[in-house]
C-alpha cells in the first residue's frame, strides 16, 4: 500500500520541480552554451546563434577603437531597423489610394494614438539613415577599405546606398500632399529626361528609353493612383527586401574579407593590453580551429594567432548595442522637437513653388535646373560608375586602414576640400550672377546646353584636378582621394544652395524672408 503513495508523491514532486525549472530550462534550450563567462562559452554564444554568427567569435582590438569606424555602419543599420518597426506600425492605418492617402496620413498625424510621434520617428530615422550611409561610405573610402580583398563589398555598399535613396524617394510620395506630388512629378520626369537628348537628335519616335522608364515608374502618363500603388509596393516590399538581402551579403563579406580594415602594423601600434583581464583562451575553442585548419586562403584566423583579439561577446556586441541606443535616442529627440511636414492635398493643376525634393536630392535638383538629362541621369551615372571603378583602378597598398592613408594624405585632402568647395561656389556664383549660355546666346542648340552646363563643367574640372593629382603624386590613391573629396564638396555646396538659397521659380535668395509674397 505504501509504495504507490511514495511513487505518486515523487512524481508530483518531480512535476513541481520541473515546473519551477521550466523557465531556466527554456533559456538553456535556447542558448545551449550557458552563460558567456569563459572564452569557450563566449564563442559558443556567437556561433550558436543564427543572428550573431554573422560576426566572428573574436574581434581585433583595432576594430573596437572608436576612430576606426565611428560606428557609422551599425548606426545606419540601427536607423534601418527603426524605420522598419515604425514603418510597419504606420501601415496599420495608411491607405495607398489618392483619395484616401492624404486623409489617412492626416488621421495618423492628428487622431491615431502616438501616430504623429511614430511618423516623426520614421521620417527622422530615414534622414539619419541617409546621413550615416553617406558618412559610412566616406569612412570606408578614406580608410582605404575598398581595396583588395574588399572590392566586392564596396560594390555591395554602393547598392545599399542607391537602395537607401530609392526607399527615401518612394516614401516621399506616399502622403499625397503638394510637396510629395510635385517632387515625384519632377522625379518621374527626370527618369524621362533621356528624351532631352533623343528629342534633340530627332530619334524619340523610334528610340525612347526615357518615356519607357517613366511609364514603368508611374504605370500611367501622369502621377496618379497607378503611380501611388507602385511607389507603395516599392517602398514597403520590394526595396526593403533588396536592402535586407544586400545587408546580409554586406555583413557576411566583412567577416569573410578579414574583418574591418586595419593597418598592417596595427598589432605593433596598439598599446600592450593587460593580459590578466582577458586571458587568451581559457579553454581552447576546438571548433573554430578545426575549421580554420581545413580552410585555405585568407580568413580571419588562418596564419594568425589570437593575439590582440578579444571575445566579440561582450566587447563588440555591447559597443554595437550602445550605437543602436544612441541612434534611437537621436531619432527620438529629433522627433520630439520637429514634426514631419504635411502640406495641402496634392493639386495637379498648381505646382508647389518652390517644389523642393528631400534635402539629399536638392544637389541633384540644382543640377537639373541646368540640364534635366545631365543633372538627373548623366552626372549621377558618371559618379556611380566612377565610385564602382575606384577599387579596380587604385590597386596600391600603402596607407590601407588609416584615415586619409596613402600618398598625399591629410594635406592633400585639405587642399582638395578647399579646391572642391571653391570651384563649386565660384561656378554657382557665376551662374547666379551672369546666367549661362542660353542667356548669352539665345537660340543656341539644346545639345550644346546639355553638354556644356555648370554641372558638366564642374565634373570636368574635378576630373582634370584628379588626373593632375595622379601625376603630381605619381599615385592612383592620391587621385582617388582628391576625386572623392572634391565630389563630396561639390555635393555639399549644391545641396546647401538648393536647401537654403533657392526660392520661388528656383531663383537665388539670401534668405527665405526675401521671398516675394503671393
Amino acid at each position: 500500500m505504501s509504495a504507490p503513495v511514495i511513487e505518486q508523491r515523487t512524481a508530483l514532486r518531480v512535476f513541481r520541480d520541473n515546473l519551477l525549472a521550466a523557465p531556466r530550462r527554456l533559456l538553456d534550450s535556447a542558448f545551449r552554451s550557458g552563460k558567456p563567462h569563459t572564452d569557450r562559452t563566449r564563442s559558443n554564444f556567437v556561433f550558436g546563434n543564427v543572428f550573431l554568427h554573422l560576426h566572428s567569435v573574436r574581434t581585433h582590438r583595432w576594430t573596437l577603437r572608436w576612430a576606426t569606424t565611428a560606428g557609422l555602419g551599425i548606426a545606419s543599420t540601427a536607423a534601418f531597423l527603426i524605420t522598419l518597426v515604425t514603418g510597419v506600425l504606420l501601415m496599420f492605418y495608411y491607405k495607398p489610394y489618392p483619395d484616401a492617402a492624404y486623409d489617412s496620413i492626416k488621421d495618423i498625424h492628428f487622431v491615431v494614438p502616438t501616430g504623429r510621434f511614430i511618423r516623426n520617428i520614421h521620417r527622422w530615422a530615414a534622414n539619419v539613415m541617409v546621413v550615416t550611409v553617406i558618412l559610412h561610405m566616406a569612412r570606408a573610402f578614406y580608410t582605404g577599405a575598398y581595396r583588395k580583398p574588399r572590392e566586392f563589398n564596396w560594390l555591395i555598399g554602393m547598392g545599399l546606398f542607391v537602395t537607401t535613396l530609392g526607399l527615401s524617394f518612394t516614401g516621399y510620395l506616399l502622403p499625397w500632399d503638394q510637396l510629395a506630388y510635385w517632387a515625384i512629378t519632377i522625379g518621374a520626369n527626370i527618369a524621362q529626361s533621356p528624351r532631352e537628348v533623343t528629342d534633340a537628335l530627332g530619334i524619340t519616335e523610334w528610340f525612347d528609353p526615357g518615356g519607357f522608364q517613366r511609364l514603368l515608374l508611374l504605370g500611367s502618363d501622369t502621377v496618379g493612383a497607378e503611380a501611388l500603388i507602385r511607389f507603395y509596393l516599392l517602398h514597403v516590399m520590394l526595396l526593403p527586401l533588396v536592402l535586407t538581402a544586400l545587408m546580409a551579403v554586406h555583413f557576411w563579406r566583412i567577416r569573410k574579407d578579414g574583418g574591418i580594415v586595419r593597418p598592417a602594423d596595427a598589432d605593433q601600434r596598439l598599446a600592450k593590453r593587460e593580459e590578466a583581464v582577458y586571458p587568451v583562451f581559457t579553454e581552447a575553442p576546438a571548433k573554430t580551429y578545426q575549421l580554420a585548419a581545413i580552410v585555405r586562403g585568407r580568413t580571419t584566423a588562418v596564419g594568425r594567432g589570437p593575439e590582440n583579439t578579444v571575445p566579440s561577446m561582450p566587447h563588440l556586441f555591447y559597443a554595437e548595442l550602445a550605437v543602436l541606443m544612441l541612434t534611437a535616442a537621436i531619432c527620438l529627440a529629433l522627433s520630439l522637437v520637429s514634426d514631419a511636414p504635411l502640406k495641402e492635398l496634392a493639386n495637379p493643376a498648381v505646382p508647389e513653388n518652390p517644389a523642393k525634393a528631400p534635402w539629399y536630392f536638392l544637389g541633384l535638383q540644382e543640377m537639373v535646373a541646368f540640364s534635366a538629362f545631365m543633372g538627373g541621369i548623366g552626372i549621377p551615372s558618371i559618379v556611380i560608375i566612377g565610385l564602382g571603378l575606384i577599387p579596380f583602378l587604385d590597386r596600391e597598398e600603402s596607407g590601407t586602414g588609416e584615415w586619409f592613408g596613402g600618398p598625399g594624405g591629410w594635406p592633400l585632402v585639405k587642399q582638395a576640400t578647399a579646391f572642391g568647395l571653391g570651384t563649386a561656389i565660384l561656378i554657382e556664383a557665376l551662374v547666379i550672377r551672369f546666367g549661362w549660355i542660353r542667356e548669352w546666346f539665345p537660340g543656341v542648340s539644346q545639345l550644346v546646353v546639355t553638354l556644356i552646363n555648370p554641372g558638366t563643367v564642374l565634373t570636368l574640372i574635378y576630373g582634370l584636378y584628379s588626373v593632375w593629382l595622379v601625376r603630381r603624386y605619381n599615385s592612383t590613391r592620391a587621385g582617388a582621394l582628391g576625386l572623392f573629396t572634391v565630389f563630396l564638396c561639390g555635393f555639399l555646396v549644391l545641396t546647401i544652395i538648393g536647401v537654403y538659397f533657392r526660392g520661388p521659380n528656383w531663383e537665388f535668395y539670401w534668405s527665405p524672408s526675401d521671398w516675394p509674397k503671393h
Binding site: 527626370i190 524621362q192 508647389e352 518652390p354 546639355t450
Partner: protein
C-alpha cells in the same frame, strides 16, 4: 565512348566531352534559358498597356470677353487657349523641362519649378527647358471648341472661328 590505348592523349589536351556530361550541361543551360525567358515574360506585366488617365480630348467654352493675348485655362487642364484676330490656338502649359505647370503671364509663360521662361509663342527664352511648349490641335467655332492634347500642331497654327 572508347579510347584506344594508342591514342592516349597528353594530360594537357582538352578532354573530349562524354555524352552524359553533354546531356547534363544541355539540361542546365535549357533550364537557365527557360528561367531567363520566363523572367522576361513576367517583366512585361508592370508595363501598362492601357493608361488610366482621363481623355486627352475635351470640350471647352471660351469666355465671350476673352481679350487678344489673354489666356483662358480650362479648369483642371494643363492648357492655355488664346483667341485673337487670326483665330484660336491652344498651348500646352506642361513645362518641357520636368513637367511642372507653367503660368501664363503678360509676356508669355513662366515655370515655377526651375525658372524657365517662354515667349508668348511658347519658345524658350531662359532656363533649362530643352524645347518650346507644344501647340495643340483645336477644332470648333464660335465659343465652343475641342482641344486635343495628343495632337501637336506646328507653332503658329491658328483655327479660324
Amino acid at each position: 565512348m572508347t579510347v584506344k590505348a594508342r591514342e592516349q592523349k597528353s594530360r594537357l589536351d582538352p578532354e573530349p566531352m562524354p555524352r552524359r556530361d553533354f546531356l547534363g550541361l544541355s539540361a542546365i543551360w535549357a533550364m537557365g534559358a527557360a528561367l531567363f525567358f520566363s523572367l522576361l515574360g513576367m517583366l512585361r506585366l508592370p508595363k501598362a498597356a492601357v493608361l488610366s488617365s482621363p481623355s486627352k480630348k475635351f470640350r471647352i467654352t471660351l469666355p465671350k470677353a476673352l481679350a487678344a493675348g489673354e489666356a483662358y485655362v480650362p479648369p483642371g487642364r494643363a492648357v492655355a487657349v488664346f483667341r485673337d484676330d487670326a483665330g484660336v490656338h491652344a498651348i500646352s502649359t506642361t513645362c518641357t523641362h520636368l513637367g511642372c505647370i507653367v503660368k501664363p503671364t503678360t509676356e508669355g509663360f513662366e515655370c515655377p519649378c526651375h525658372g524657365s521662361l517662354f515667349a508668348a509663342d511658347g519658345s524658350v527664352t531662359r532656363g533649362p527647358a530643352p524645347r518650346s511648349l507644344d501647340w495643340l490641335k483645336v477644332q470648333g467655332s464660335g465659343d465652343a471648341w475641342i482641344v486635343d492634347e495628343e495632337s501637336r500642331v506646328p507653332p503658329g497654327t491658328r483655327e479660324q472661328a
